[in-house]
Symmetry: C2
Subunit: 115 residues, 2 copies
């Protein structure tokens, strides 16, 4: 992070590096946080949500697949939503969802904006 003359700031990082060799569990890292917004990097390696688990959040979430692919199950939707690199999904508050699968052959890197 660098402070400008007025005390303001900017910060640079990357989503594609600094991934552990071992990845027993998915990684969730907060890379930006304010009163209104939390931005996370998520790294999955063939992971899926535990059996019977559903995300049910009080806030909306925008997710982007930066690398890899994933399948999300949305409550009351028949088909799994398949996402590949560059695809995004905007999920309203209390829309229950779960990760059915992520790419087993490469790391799937997500950007998640909670707002």
């Amino acid at each position: 992070m660098s402070k400008g003359l007025k005390g303001f700031w900017f910060a640079k990082g990357t989503l594609l590096e600094d991934i552990p060799v071992e990845l027993l569990e998915e990684i969730f890292e907060t890379i930006c946080l304010s009163d209104n917004v939390k931005i996370e990097r998520i790294v999955s390696r063939g992971h899926a949500s535990p059996e019977g688990f559903w995300y049910d959040q009080e806030w909306s979430e925008f997710i982007l697949i930066v690398q890899g692919s994933a399948g999300l199950k949305i409550e009351n939707e028949r088909d799994i939503v398949a996402l590949k690199t560059g695809d995004y999904l905007n999920i309203g508050a209390h829309v229950k969802h779960r990760v059915e699968w992520t790419d087993p052959a490469c790391d799937t890197i997500w950007l998640a904006v909670h707002y």
Copy 2:
């Protein structure tokens, strides 16, 4: 966009498709909007900010290079900040900045989160 049984919703899209063949000016598209947050896709093809132009925003901005590369000039910083695919930059409100260059050989696709 799809409405669940409770009237809640989700919406899917992609950042890497639906790019015009001709791209005389950069494209700015709002893909998510709430009271607190605006998320845009930006597509540049060798574009840069006009001579002497600086962004000076009342809100913070998180940018991610989804594809391509770019160089940003930050006020009072000597070096241009070079960004490649997967790199992000978090820019505080009123940190003046401008786009010095974007990749001339391919489309640069940005995700911008204004918050």
